[in-house]
């Protein structure tokens, strides 16, 4: 049995500094405390799950990490750097990419263009070049396109590169969002309910892909998910959130047995009498 106090670091990440560290993170909306005293450490190639009942504040944590919201309290360290002064764009450049619970692709852009937007920062590009169409512009544009096709091949989507993103079936849209996020070359990928709306076969294949993405890109993946089969299947560490507070952290096996987690999900027998 693991020492419950010991940090959860996969063997291969020992001696490596964490990619993401939250210390005492919290946010209030008016009088409502949505997240409070949230602490987590994610190592460079860890797959970590974030679970909790509806409304527990999981997506709020993603919004804090990506600076959609500014934290009221606490700090976020990305590869050791405090992200206090970063805005949303800076956070992405610094290495956090994400997907959304309610898919937010650029629906009127093609599949390829969606990925190219993600590759935006990777391309050395100046406006003058685009106006005069200098050869170096074409070169970087071609490199970006090749790279985009390469990324699309992860989910076998090269053949639909010219389709409008909005015309894709639901599952494909979720997969495209993951590719678009990967295109920004992140150190840590945040997936917000990647399996939502997928059938069991799709979820199964998504699980394989999540592992594959981690192995290929050597990045950390932090994911919110309700599908316990997925969480228990791919995550090395799991954090459980309830009412904006972290109530448990451990390996999937530990989490499944933790009485506080069971209570958060199922309620206590005593509650009805209280």
């Amino acid at each position: 049995m693991r020492d419950p106090k010991a940090p959860l670091i996969p063997e291969r990440d020992h001696n490596k500094s964490p990619v993401l560290e939250c210390v005492g993170l919290g946010i209030d909306f008016g009088g409502l405390t949505a997240v409070d005293d949230f602490n987590i450490t994610i190592s460079p190639t860890e797959i970590c799950g974030l679970i909790g009942p509806n409304g527990a504040g999981k997506t709020t944590i993603f919004n804090l990490l990506t600076k959609v919201y500014n934290p009221t309290r606490g700090s976020i360290f990305l590869e050791g750097n405090n992200t206090k002064r970063y805005n949303t764009k800076d956070v992405n450049k610094a290495g956090i990419a994400r997907t959304f619970q309610n898919i937010r692709l650029f629906k009127n852009l093609t599949v390829l263009e969606n990925v190219l937007i993600g590759l935006h920062n990777e391309m050395d590009y100046r406006l003058v070049q685009s106006i005069f169409r200098l050869p170096s512009y074409w070169r970087s544009e071609r490199i970006a396109r090749d790279r985009a096709h390469e990324l699309l091949s992860i989910f076998n989507m090269q053949d639909i590169a010219d389709h409008k993103a909005g015309s894709l079936p639901y599952g494909s849209q979720r997969r495209l969002e993951i590719i678009r996020a990967l295109a920004t070359n992140p150190a840590i990928l945040l997936l917000d309910e990647p399996a939502a709306g997928m059938n069991p076969a799709e979820t199964e294949s998504l699980m394989e892909h999540i592992g594959e993405i981690r192995d290929t890109f050597q990045i950390a993946i932090f994911l919110i998910e309700h599908d316990m089969q997925l969480v228990m299947g791919v995550c090395e560490g799991v954090a459980v959130l309830n009412y904006g507070k972290l109530i448990a952290k451990g390996t999937p096996a530990e989490i499944q047995k933790d009485p506080r987690v069971i209570e958060a999900y199922l309620g206590t027998g005593g509650q009805a009498d209280a």
């Binding site: 959609v68 764009k89 391309m123 544009e141 920004t184």
Partner: protein
């Protein structure tokens, strides 16, 4: 015969409306602002053209470049100074600001240049004469206007569809926050959009000057309003819509004149706008309302 020459007339006028309407539609598409100061940028462009020709005695090409450059610079400065600080303010604050800038520009122009119309020596800018095809003769100014507008619109379409910045513009207009989360520098994209819209307005100022060569502090007001109608008619936010809307308004105007209803021209334009909006609230080519899941 007369109809054909009126149609060409309409295409000339429509080209100008389309160029100006593009500025409205692009800015609306990206920050949901009806930039009512857009028409007055054209007025400033008119004065730049006027003074660079009459006082500066510049070469016409230099005068044209100064006009387009001046409009672009003015729009960028205005955006940075007045709209950028209001990025997270309610849209209404932006709208009021735009109206304020419009009034300010008109009054500053009146203060310095007076309210009396000054005539723009447009013959220095455009070739004089006309080309005769069979029985029709088309003035060079009409021809140049139509060709220059079409070239500008093709260039804009390539910019928006093919370049990285164009893709970023479309992404920001669809979902600003998601674009930012993908690392897009939204502020730069917005400034760039204003700059492109104003450059088109600068070209519009020159072409408008060729057609109505009198510059006053208020020339931008009606032109701006007509172009705004064109943008709404085509579907505000839609680039092809602004082009179609521009030509539609231009042709409609000359056809009412042709039908002997010249006193009703402006009224009819507004009437058509009202009818289109009743039947198709999103305009001719406007986006369907996005359904939120």
């Amino acid at each position: 015969m007369l109809l054909v020459s009126q149609l060409i007339n309409g295409l000339q006028l429509g080209s100008i409306y389309a160029l100006v309407a593009l500025g409205y539609t692009m800015v609306y598409g990206i920050i949901k602002l009806l930039n009512f100061a857009h028409g007055d940028i054209i007025m400033v462009g008119g004065y730049i053209a006027l003074f660079s020709l009459t006082a500066g005695h510049f070469h016409p090409a230099v005068a044209a470049l100064l006009t387009v450059g001046g409009c672009t610079l003015l729009a960028v400065i205005l955006e940075k100074l007045t709209y950028a600080p209001l990025r997270f303010a309610p849209r209404l604050s932006l709208l009021i600001t735009a109206i304020g800038i419009s009034i300010l520009l008109q009054n500053v122009a009146q203060f310095f240049f007076g309210a009396a119309p000054r005539s723009l020596p447009y013959r220095e800018l455009f070739p004089v004469g006309s080309v005769t095809i069979g029985e029709f003769s088309i003035a060079y100014t009409s021809l140049v206007t139509i060709i220059l507008s079409v070239v500008s619109m093709v260039a804009l379409t390539i910019l928006v569809q093919r370049t990285k910045l164009g893709k970023a513009m479309r992404a920001v207009s669809e979902d600003t926050e998601a674009a930012q989360l993908m690392g897009v520098n939204v502020n730069n994209v917005i400034t760039f959009t204003f700059a492109v819209g104003a450059a088109l307005a600068g070209i519009g100022a020159l072409l408008y000057g060729a057609r109505f060569p009198l510059v006053t502090p208020t020339i931008g007001a009606m032109l701006g309003l007509k172009a705004f109608i064109a943008a709404v008619l085509g579907g505000i936010g839609s680039i092809p819509g602004a082009m179609v809307g521009g030509y539609a308004v231009g042709l409609l105007e000359v056809l009412t004149v042709f039908a002997g209803l010249s006193r009703w021209t402006d009224g009819l334009v507004f009437l058509v706008l009202i009818i289109v909006l009743l039947v198709r609230p999103t305009g001719l080519m406007g986006r369907k309302f996005m359904e939120k899941v």
